[in-house]
């Protein structure tokens, strides 16, 4: 382990915070602020690409026998008398969520270039602080540290919504804050209980202690502990019926806020479900799976139905998130390799495509200042490039084959079908619903006669907006075609976290010997260059 490997996670996590502090010290100049935020967040993105590159090397180096769950680990004592550690590490599940986060932040900066004109510096400072907190959530391997980062995401996000949002922003911000706060309080109780009984906050040690089954009082407390974590994450996902904060938060949030909220913050919930609920309480998770899956299925169908009747464009996208995140939860609690692989992959897909959808919707709002679908129609005529991009993302979102959404949804559905056919069947209807509401929305906004006089002279996407949107469109395609590259990295971690009892068998896994012929770095390099070039 060289120095860079053990410190790169800390660097990636805290560089945004450093950038935020520097931003506060720089002269109060809007142009400088924007460029500085763009450069620093792009630099952090490039730095974070070191992770998948090196991760690929690790995968080649370690054989199955000495397979380590976490890489790039750094474990330092923080508060000695409580045995709290600064323990960071990353596995195949968190790897791409980290890259997704660093990928979306510079795009968020680009998309807020003109739309934020009041208190500009505070906006970008909050954005960068939020980035640090989100990255920390995915990388912390100490329960205390995890909770610290988890709570730290709350303030900047609530402020972003409340200070830069639309008319009902205060209501939305307070609702967002309270829902999450109430949820996480239960998680805190569960974390303290675990600490009191195991004497450690360390994720792996806790896991070992719980798996041991000899912890006194654990049998009685396990359902309550499981629920403690579950409520915190279910609010964040959001799982039906705890989703009501989401449409408000999304509709009122500024575009960059929505992008990060949908792209990353919701994934913190599903990531937590997988890492903690499934990872720490495998028995409980299986026991509770039926009703959780039921809620997920209700979420899929209910979210889709509500999207269908939404007159508000942004609310439609928001409710589609409820539906899509239902797929992720369905996949996780199907307890099949394919299902959970697909769930993790779907987290990334949703981040890319819904993030892009919010950017698209946001820039339409910048031009027309309304989200009402009825105000639009025939927009494809004045904005042809915009319509093309929107179409690509729409197709990715509804899971057209060759697009990223297809891979994730297919894996989730095949996994849940293996678990219980009914789950797969009901889940599959969600795919149809999503095609209905997305395509219908697309038709109403872009096709037909452009009759509204306000829509006659809409400006097409500018260079800056294109720079923000094309990377997501390209990633949607690349992730649809080259999915084995991602699944191969995700799959072993999924197996180790959620299905330790099953022998590992990946649907895509290359035979180890063949790997020497096709250099391992090749897919990694090609993917990085695509990402790098598009950036």
């Amino acid at each position: 382990m060289n120095f860079l490997d053990s410190s790169v996670l800390t660097l990636v996590t805290f560089l945004p915070l450093v950038a935020a502090v520097v931003l506060l010290l720089l002269p109060k100049d809007e142009k400088l602020t924007r460029w500085f935020s763009l450069y620093s967040s792009s630099f952090i993105f490039l730095l974070s690409l070191y992770l998948p590159w090196r991760f690929g090397q690790f995968q080649e180096m370690h054989t199955e026998a000495e397979h380590r769950l976490f890489h790039f680990e750094l474990d330092q004592q923080w508060i000695q008398s409580l045995n709290i550690h600064y323990h960071m590490g990353l596995d195949g599940i968190s790897l791409w969520l980290v890259v997704l986060t660093t990928f979306l932040v510079p795009l968020g900066v680009l998309i807020s270039w003109r739309s934020v004109h009041d208190r500009v510096r505070t906006f970008f400072v909050l954005l960068l602080i939020l980035e640090t907190a989100m990255l920390g959530v995915f990388l912390a391997l100490d329960l205390f540290l995890f909770y610290v980062f988890w709570e730290a995401t709350l303030i900047p996000m609530a402020l972003l919504i409340g200070m830069y949002g639309h008319e009902r922003r205060v209501y939305a911000a307070v609702k967002f804050f309270l829902y999450t706060m109430v949820g996480s309080v239960f998680m805190l109780a569960a974390i303290i209980w675990l600490y009191v009984h195991t004497g450690t906050f360390d994720y792996e040690n806790t896991r070992a202690a719980l798996a041991d089954g000899t912890l006194p009082g654990f049998a009685a407390a396990a359902p309550i502990l499981f629920l403690g974590f579950f409520i915190a994450f279910a609010v964040k996902v959001p799982l039906f019926p705890l989703h009501t904060w989401l449409p408000d938060a999304h509709v009122e949030a500024p575009t960059a806020g929505s992008v990060l909220l949908a792209g990353v913050l919701l994934k913190m919930g599903t990531y937590g479900l997988l890492r903690f609920n499934v990872g720490l309480f495998p028995g409980q998770a299986r026991e509770h799976a039926p009703w959780i899956v039921t809620l997920a299925l209700i979420g899929i169908i209910y979210g889709a139905l509500v999207s269908m009747v939404q007159p508000n464009l942004k609310k439609l996208v928001a409710y589609s998130s409820v539906s899509h995140l239902g797929f992720v939860v369905l996949g996780i609690f199907s307890f099949t390799q394919a299902g959970i692989d697909g769930a993790v992959y779907q987290m990334l897909n949703h981040g890319v495509s819904t993030g892009a959808l919010f950017m698209l919707v946001g820039l339409l709002y910048e031009r027309r200042h309304t989200f009402e679908i009825s105000q639009y129609g025939g927009v494809a005529t004045p904005m042809p490039n915009y319509a093309t991009l929107f179409l690509i993302i729409t197709l990715s979102s509804i899971g057209l084959p060759l697009m990223n959404g297809f891979v994730g949804e297919f894996l989730v559905l095949s996994g849940s079908f293996q678990a219980r056919p009914l789950w797969g069947i009901l889940g599959a209807t969600g795919v149809i619903w999503s095609a209905c509401y997305m395509l219908w929305m697309y038709q109403r906004v872009f096709y037909g006669q452009n009759t509204n006089p306000a829509n006659q002279a809409l400006r097409d996407v500018t260079r800056r907006e294109r720079l923000a949107l094309w990377p997501t469109a390209i990633m949607a395609l690349v992730m649809g075609v080259a999915s084995p590259y991602w699944i191969n990295q995700i799959s072993p971690a999924v197996q180790a976290t959620a299905l330790p009892e099953q022998p590992y068998r990946s649907p895509y896994k290359r035979p180890v010997k063949k790997a020497e012929k096709t250099p391992a770095a090749a897919p990694a390099a090609s993917a990085t260059t695509t990402e790098g070039a598009t950036h």
């Binding site: 508060i79 000695q80 008398s81 409580l82 208190r119 909770y147 610290v148 709570e151 730290a152 709350l154 303030i155 609530a158 402020l159 409340g162 200070m163 922003r169 205060v170 911000a173 307070v174 804050f177 309270l178 706060m181 109430v182 309080v185 239960f186 805190l188 109780a189 303290i192 209980w193 600490y195 009191v196």
Partner: protein, 487 residues
């Protein structure tokens, strides 16, 4: 008759108190001599010097432990890590309170002299409370601290609400001290001694029913002083009327001192039958404090209710296992002091002449008008909510940790639900500051160096306790151990 000789060592035991008293008298004497207001303003420096000197004196006590630690004045005082912890804390609070009073007195056009002297004398009483182990001395110290705060509460004597505040505090306060005194009398009747260690020894060997009544009566008196529900009714009115920097002081320092007394009586004195009393007091204080705060529009009243709730969290620690519980309580008093004194420093800055601007509406748009001030208040509010990386979070975490170790699941659940509820009203202040459009007619003065210093001190302490709590935690653990050893 034993021959009474006071050794030099005994003076070491009350060195911080001596220093404070000397400076307090100096301020009192110099006050009438200084005719010009400009000269009188310099008394603030003298008081600040006094408070700093008392912190230094405590430090001297701490460094020459061999000479200063142990019983003094025939067992009336006990200097140990426990008392040193509170001396540091109370001295520190006094420093910040004096710093934030500086330009407050100027804006309110209040006289300087005896104000500072009263802060110093009050601190003497509070410090003495934390080292006294003899009930009569505790009572005297309690009175010294109370009487000073009664006067300070009414210091804005031209404002009717301030006079109301002082009168209410005085009447109810004397009533409550009477209860305490009753308890002292009864415990003396039961054990024939007023020394806490002797009481403990007697009670452990031969428990009498009288002791239960005595403990209940003493707890009534002490609960009043820490504003624990159901003895909290005075708090909102008194805090609303009293000068803001004084509220910062009296919501933290006397409370800390009373908690010290409580810990001594309950643990060192082996008092019986208090567990369920404390349990109910804790649950009621948390719930009533937080629910009451939800509907307040006056920031001072809101923080008054919040201080009731925080007394509740602190009492949770008392119900937990002794060693961990006392450690948690000590840490909690320290971080609560840091954040609350800081919050009231911001409030006293914003209040303006005659404390006219203390409602939520006056805080609207503060994020734009005074970004630095708003950021500071946000930090203190986040700490009061219990967001990680602030002292408030770690203190709460430690309290709940101690409580869960003692299997107090019910109390922990009440506490956690309360912290979720509480986040709403703290958040409301932030919402007004950052998300509402400002009122232009609220005047803002430039920030003076003294206020900046007060804010910086509290902010640093809040963050330090949240990020690197180890040092203070060690000190608190050691205090708890020493308290429990000698009984």
């Amino acid at each position: 008759m034993p021959q009474i000789t006071l050794q030099a060592v005994d003076y070491m035991a009350i060195l911080p108190e001596i220093v404070l008293t000397a400076f307090g008298i100096l301020v009192m004497v110099a006050d009438p001599l200084a005719k010009a207001p400009a000269v009188r303003r310099q008394l603030g420096y003298v008081a600040l010097l006094g408070a700093l000197a008392s912190v230094a004196a405590t430090f001297v006590q701490w460094t020459v432990r061999a000479r200063s630690f142990g019983p003094a004045f025939f067992g009336m005082l006990q200097v140990d890590t426990f008392s040193v912890f509170f001396h540091f804390l109370i001295g520190g609070i006094a420093v910040v309170a004096i710093l934030s009073s500086w330009d407050y007195l100027e804006t309110q056009e209040l006289r300087n002299g005896e104000y500072y002297a009263l802060i110093l004398f009050g601190s003497v009483g509070m410090m003495l409370m934390s080292s006294a182990v003899e009930l009569v001395l505790i009572f005297i110290a309690l009175e010294i601290s109370s009487i000073s705060t009664y006067i300070l509460a009414g210091y804005r004597r031209r404002a009717p609400e301030s006079v109301e505040s002082a009168l209410k505090y005085f009447l109810l306060g004397s009533f409550a001290t009477a209860f305490f005194l009753y308890g002292v009398a009864l415990i003396f009747g039961a054990t024939a001694t007023t020394n806490i260690y002797d009481i403990g020894r007697v009670l452990r060997s031969d428990m009498t029913n009288l002791a239960y009544v005595a403990v209940a009566l003493m707890l009534v008196g002490l609960s009043f002083k820490i504003a624990a529900a159901p003895f909290h009714v005075w708090t909102p009115d008194v805090y609303e009327g009293a000068p803001s920097p004084v509220v910062g002081l009296m919501s933290t320092a006397p409370k800390a001192a009373v908690f010290a007394v409580m810990a001594r009586i309950l643990f060192a004195g082996s008092a019986p039958g208090w567990f369920w009393i404390i349990w109910v007091l804790a649950a009621l204080s948390m719930s009533i404090g937080n629910i009451g705060a939800l509907v307040q529009n006056n920031v001072k009243r809101m923080l008054a209710y919040s201080s009731i709730a925080h007394a509740g969290y602190l009492l949770v620690a008392f119900a937990a296992l002794p060693e961990l519980g006392i450690t948690a309580a000590l840490f909690y008093t320290a971080s609560y002091a840091a954040m609350n004194v800081g919050a009231f420093a911001v409030i006293s800055y914003l209040a303006g002449h005659g404390e006219r601007y203390v409602t939520l509406d006056d805080y609207a748009g503060l994020g734009k008008r005074a970004p630095g001030m708003a950021a500071m208040l946000t930090l203190f509010l986040l700490s009061l909510i219990g967001i990680p990386l602030t002292g408030g979070f770690f203190a709460k975490f430690y309290v709940f940790n101690a409580a869960l170790r003692a299997n107090l699941v019910g109390l922990v659940i009440v506490g956690l639900i309360n912290s979720a509820v509480a986040s709403y009203y703290y958040l409301r202040i932030m919402v007004y500051m950052y998300m509402k459009d400002g009122r232009e007619d609220v005047p803002l003065r430039p920030v003076t160096p003294s206020l900046a210093a007060a804010l910086a001190l509290s902010a640093l302490a809040t963050l330090y306790l949240g990020i690197l709590p180890q040092t203070v935690l060690d000190l608190a653990t050691r205090s708890a151990q020493e308290l429990l050893q000698r009984r």
